[in-house]
Symmetry: C3
Subunit: 154 residues, 3 copies
């Protein structure tokens, strides 16, 4: 039986990827009490890595797509942490968004909106999250966006 | 009736701004248990955005002023989260300070002290916080400093 | 009497440094409930600061060594937070790794593995942590790596 959130995902025309394996020697999430700390998820979609630098070779639409892919990967990790039941997600607490960006780039919030807008559309009130969005001089594998997150789960 | 912390603020010659609205599609804070996660606050004061890059066009004094403005914005969010009663603040747990900085800049801790020193002066023991201070290649709208934070509130 | 974890450290040929003093006006850790938030620890070892930028003047082996030094400093803070008894460490929850890196550097995960591999070897299952690894345009004092962390302690 598919849960409420996954039916909404399907209605939005999206499917969760398999939970991405960590890029190195760490685990994708750790749960302490009802807080779930999820490792930084990079912009790696079904078609591979989304590589680029905002302010240089990547435009806003592509950056927002990259951020949305990070959000899908984060939700895939939440599902895995909840033994497949995404409806155990209580609240998206905080996103930490890192944008691969040049020194003169100024639109980091709009880029990370690619994740925030999608989460808002999917989850409504329980998707309302705190957030930071900053520029990084570079990111793993040259990806455009990396987002780490804290969730509340039951 | 003004609370203890706000009277101290006034004695220091400071007033809290209104809690800044988020720059995009997220909320300024999320509370889970007694932990309050506050979104990254940028250096935007009563006179507008404080823009610049440390190591390039901004000196230390201006950078510290920018960090202090971030701290005021963080406290404004705490007040809003506590329904106007800043005295419900138990402890400043952690600041995450991002400094818009060139590759050869090395004084990030001194910049973020603009926030830490002010918080220490205002709050004393309950203001003693853990902290990270790092350089960002760029920040939203070109601001000099962004600080996110975790607070303990009752 | 030396605890279990410190005996394992000795067997690995390592000793904890004294808990490094903060670089500025903040405290090295704050505990809320069983969560211990530790300030960003920089790559400063017994021989001094480990300075450099990945992608420019520092190679991978040196970057990994810098990350390991950050991990030792983090554990020194945990020991101090636990009144000298490192065995009160329940779980390494999350590392936030910042790599001083050029715009074309792409191997941030391998650098931060210098910390993650060491923690895994030392702590086994309780060392399995969530993680983010990103590039910073610059770091305090020109160090190669800074890592902040959250631990669960009893």
């Amino acid at each position: 039986m598919t849960g409420h959130i996954e039916r909404k995902l399907a209605a939005l025309g999206e499917t969760l990827p398999g939970a991405p394996a960590p890029a190195a020697n760490y685990v994708p999430f750790v749960k302490v009490g009802d807080l779930l700390f999820v490792s930084g998820q990079i912009s790696k979609g079904p078609d591979g890595l989304i590589i680029g630098q905002l302010g240089a070779d990547m435009d806003m639409a592509a950056g927002q797509k990259a951020a949305k892919v990070c959000a899908l990967n984060l939700l895939a990790q939440v599902k895995a942490a909840c033994n497949g039941d995404l409806d155990r997600l209580v609240r998206v607490v905080k996103l930490g968004g890192f944008v691969n960006a040049t020194a003169d780039f100024t639109d980091h919030p709009a880029v990370i909106n690619g994740a925030s807008d999608f989460i808002g559309e999917l989850l409504g009130e329980s998707g309302q999250h705190a957030r930071a969005a900053v520029g990084s001089s570079s990111l793993p594998f040259g990806v455009a966006v990396e987002i780490e997150a804290i969730f509340q789960v039951r």
